[in-house]
């Protein structure tokens, strides 16, 4: 039973398709990114230097030629760091500058500080680094063979799945791969450090986590957190790539300014950025499942072998989330879900929109496709058969009860609106008459848990100032990376005060206004910061109500805020008049707000409790055509129905869904990271790494928000988080491709790994034809 959701009062600001707060500046080109900020006079520029090898002990480091190159002011090495030489977000192992040995190709050994960016880059090429090279572990198998891991194996289990699979009427086992993904935020990593009074430092940094960078810089320089300010007005995209891995470049800029006493900027060149920063984790996935003739699963066993790279970074949370979403929308009566966090001598993989969840779901969807193919059933029917259901079929592998399930209705609606059944028949007919072109269709569901699985990160702060002219300034710990967080939070504050959005000034995220924040990640930006800002606004509002009640001798309940005015009984005065009064009557017009997500109790050690406040749901139906002679693939049509609760801003939400889906589609179809046997990334530019462009869009792309009565949990205006889930809607494309290939030989599961590039599709097609 769904909880009763109170119907909200008519809203003036929330729920409106307001444009992005910086839209005007973006189209004029005067929105400032870090590299656009006017540099203080004498600003120096950094460039990173690294060895040719991938792994081994540094025998000698000859930087003489670098030092004497034109324009060079300083060359930084590990010995220049006064404090801790580590920028890890978790368990260490991420030296800011390599000290003694290197662990992956592209690891920064030194940094040049020069008068110009170009001079720094040229000088960086002049170093002689001698490394006693060791054989690098490049693949997950390499790491496994040497029993190298960055973190212990972790497992969820229920029942005796192995025995149950054996006893099941039918069973399947399979192994396949899921590729990684480069973030390719359009604005590369960049930070500008400016020395202040008395050893204090201000760092403008393009990051999702200003607080963490503040702490890391303080530790590196051996100064107090309070002496470091980190600020970010906006990022030119981030997608997880600036959660932990913006830190190194900020630290280096800060170190350069500490050593030289001058402002210093580090902006990574694109190729360096792609080589030196971590990506989405790539996986090998080995699984087996037992099921009956209807496709109903009795038990599942899956081993996720994740290539984590050379350090732990955020791999704990990422891989945990893979496990949390290995069930996607399906009930596994018995299961064993095991995650191996393998160490390799490659760049440390990191957060990427979905944070491990997408890989878990690619697995569950491949399993559904495999079962359907084996049984000759429609894959959608197999999916539905396994959906979470009522009591007895509502407990996830991690013990949380699914209480807000809307899959049946949502998927049912999409099945209708996408004309799924009719198109299934048409496609079957098409495939029979078409010798070389084959079509595939898939309708995949999505259930994504919202909250940081690391409990303490589920908190946020905000600071709201009301000025006597009635204008309002809002600040919070969340960062803006294009998702529209600032816009949504401003809408919330405007709503509280009943004023127009234009009267709310949004300011840059900075650690000296709101301290001790969590990263803007896990899709939680609005849930957390919107709530904190609302609480701050409510505090001020209640002071204003008290004041008005006193001044006008009236019941508090007769006071309300709307249309830039305050209704006080029969009287109506401008909002700005009351704020004037407040100042004269010595009432504070400033407040902080603090929010900690309730009802989350996950305990990782005992594997019990509730990790998520709620789930976001959605579904996508994709139709593709493949050319079995060339492996080429086009996406003919995609229909999406997605649940954002009561939308705070439908335009922004739809933007997140479209953008997330296309990003997921790129990950699963064209974006292929290729490392050579020495662990060097060979695809370090968009010329060799294929990011979707406008011409890759589905020919027919229909996106709709699910008509929701609102989140059953008491979230900000009953909305739901939307940042990450849409990425996983793209599993429908992968499934549709599988479906198209499977049409070649009924009953046989195509051997296709992700990404399904034309090359991989062609190989899978050939395998089907060869009769293997």
């Amino acid at each position: 039973m769904l909880k009763k959701i109170p119907s909200p009062a008519p809203a003036l600001n929330v729920g409106k398709a307001t444009k992005h707060d910086s839209a005007d500046r973006h189209v004029r080109g005067n929105a400032l990114y870090i590299d656009d900020i006017r540099e203080p006079r004498g600003t120096l520029h950094l460039a990173p230097g690294y060895a040719r090898e991938s792994c081994g002990k540094i025998k000698s480091l000859d930087l003489d030629a670098v030092r004497s190159a034109p324009g060079v002011v300083a060359v930084l090495t590990a010995s220049d760091i006064p404090g801790l030489n580590d920028c890890s977000p978790s368990f260490g192992g991420d030296p800011i500058l390599a000290d003694g040995r290197i662990e992956f190709h592209g690891q920064v050994v030194f940094a040049v500080v020069a008068r110009s960016h170009l001079e720094a880059r040229k000088a960086a090429k002049l170093a002689h680094i001698e490394v006693i090279a060791e054989t690098p572990m490049v693949t997950a198998e390499d790491g496994l063979a040497r029993e190298a891991s960055v973190l212990p194996t972790y497992e969820f289990s229920r029942g005796s799945p192995e025995a149950t699979i054996k006893a099941s009427p039918l069973a399947l086992s399979d192994s396949f791969r899921i590729g990684g993904q480069e973030h390719f935020y359009l604005e590369g990593q960049v930070s500008l450090a400016i020395p202040q009074d008395q050893g204090e430092i201000l760092v403008h940094t393009s990051t999702q986590h200003p607080t963490e960078i503040q702490h890391l810089i303080a530790k590196m320089l051996k100064i107090r957190d309070a002496a470091v300010v980190c600020e970010c007005r906006r990022m030119g995209g981030a997608f997880g790539g600036k959660e932990s891995q913006a830190a190194q470049w900020a630290c280096l800029a800060a170190l350069a300014s500490h050593v030289t006493g001058r402002p210093a900027k580090m902006r990574l060149d694109r190729d360096d950025d792609m080589i030196m920063t971590g990506k989405r984790h790539d996986f090998r996935c080995d699984w087996q499942a037992g099921f009956d003739e209807t496709g109903k699963i009795s038990a599942v066993e899956v081993d996720f072998l994740a290539r984590c790279g050379c350090s732990a970074d955020l791999s704990l949370g990422v891989n945990d989330r893979t496990m949390f979403h290995a069930d996607n929308s399906y009930y596994y009566p018995e299961n064993r879900i095991t995650s191996h966090r393998i160490k390799t001598n490659t760049v440390s993989n990191t957060a990427f929109r979905g944070f491990g969840g997408p890989q878990g779901m690619v697995f569950s969807e491949r399993m559904m496709d495999a079962i359907a193919i084996k049984l000759g059933l429609d894959p959608l029917d197999v999916r539905k058969t396994n959906f979470y259901g009522d009591s007895g079929r509502d407990i996830t592998p991690f013990g949380m009860k699914v209480e807000d399930n809307i899959l049946e209705e949502l998927v049912g609606e999409l099945e209708q609106t996408s004309d799924y059944r009719k198109r299934r028949q048409e496609i079957q007919a098409f495939n029979t008459r078409s010798p070389f072109l084959k079509k595939g269709l898939a309708l995949n569901p999505l259930k994504f848990g919202i909250s940081f699985t690391l409990k303490h990160l589920n908190q946020a702060g905000a600071l709201v100032h009301v000025y006597t002219d009635g204008s309002v300034q809002v600040n919070h710990g969340g960062t803006e990376m294009g998702q529209g967080l600032y816009t949504k939070v401003a809408q919330v504050v405007a709503e509280e005060f009943g004023i127009d959005l234009e009267n709310v000034q949004i300011t840059a995220t900075t650690t000296d206004k709101v301290p001790n924040t969590a990263p803007t990640a896990a899709s939680s930006g609005t849930d957390l910061n919107g709530m904190a800002a609302k609480l701050a606004a409510e505090t001020i509002k209640s002071r204003l109500i008290d004041l008005a009640a006193k001044l006008y001798q009236i019941e508090k309940s007769a006071i309300s805020f709307a249309n830039n005015h305050v209704q006080i009984g029969q009287q109506k005065i401008p909002f700005a008049e009351l704020t004037q009064q407040a100042f004269l009557q010595r009432v504070s017009l400033s407040s902080t707000g603090y929010y900690a997500t309730p009802n989350i109790t996950w305990d990782r050690d005992s594997k019990s409790g509730r990790p998520f406040l709620y789930f976001a749901y959605g579904a996508a139906c994709a139709e593709v055509t493949i050319d079995t002679l060339t492996g080429e693939m086009v996406i003919d049509r995609v229909d999406i129905l997605h649940d954002v609760g009561k939308s705070l801003n439908p335009a922004l939400d739809i933007g997140q869904i479209e953008g997330g889906f296309v990003q997921g589609m790129g990950w699963l179809t064209t974006e292929e990271l290729v490392y050579d046997d020495q662990g060097r990334l060979r695809t370090h530019a968009p010329s060799t790494y294929k990011i979707p462009t406008a011409s890759d869009l589905p020919d027919d792309f229909r996106v709709k928000l699910w008509d929701s009565p609102g989140n059953r949990e008491d979230t900000i205006y009953r909305s739901k988080a939307v940042g990450e889930p849409p990425v996983m809607l793209a599993t429908a494309v992968f499934s549709a491709i599988t479906n198209a290939i499977a049409s070649l030989k009924p009953g046989v599961l195509p051997q296709i790994s992700a990404p399904a590039t034309p090359e991989n599709i062609l190989a899978a097609v050939k395998l089907m034809k060869s009769g293997d």
């Binding site: 839209a23 189209v27 004029r28 359009l186 294009g482 953008g659 889906f661 990003q663 968009p686």
Partner: protein, 155 residues
């Protein structure tokens, strides 16, 4: 140091520059026109697109000297004071942007595209914007924006 002169956004500029100065650096650093962005440095992402003598060009892989004597328009020169160009207006109204980093180059490319194709259909727009990467929007609203702007633009 050689001297370069060009008209940028209607204003004559002349400067002594190192011969290897990229046009994008000249615009961003010498003229402080930072609306032209650098996304890839290698002619692939389109964040740096400007107009040279009315034609779109990627300014990251061009020397400033190559634009000597040319008529250059950057995003800052597209609006007439407070009046946005129809393409700018359309991107704003149709939510054709998120982080905004690709937006300026995208708009410059799109203006040229519409000039060349009149009222392009979806397929022409999608094809025509292949040289501009957007990592945020999924392009749907960008295509919508260009289509809407084409209706408003002359000829």
């Amino acid at each position: 140091m050689p001297t370069v002169s060009m008209t940028v956004n209607g204003k004559q500029v002349t400067a002594d520059i190192a011969p290897n100065t990229l046009l994008v650096s000249f615009l961003r650093e010498n003229l402080r026109l930072t609306g032209t962005h650098v996304g890839c440095d290698t002619s692939q992402c389109g964040a740096c697109v400007i107009h040279i003598n009315g034609e779109s060009a990627k300014s990251c892989t061009m020397l400033a000297l190559q634009a000597d004597g040319a008529e250059v328009t950057t995003i800052e020169g597209l609006a007439k004071g407070n009046d946005l160009h129809p393409m700018q207006k359309a991107f704003q109204e149709n939510h054709g942007l998120q982080c905004g980093f690709c937006t300026t180059g995208m708009i410059m490319s799109a203006v040229d595209l519409v000039k060349k194709h009149g009222k392009p259909d979806d397929a022409t727009i999608r094809k025509g914007l292949e040289g501009n990467i957007c990592r945020c929007t999924g392009y749907q609203n960008i295509v919508k924006s260009v289509k809407a702007a084409a209706q408003e633009m002359e000829g």
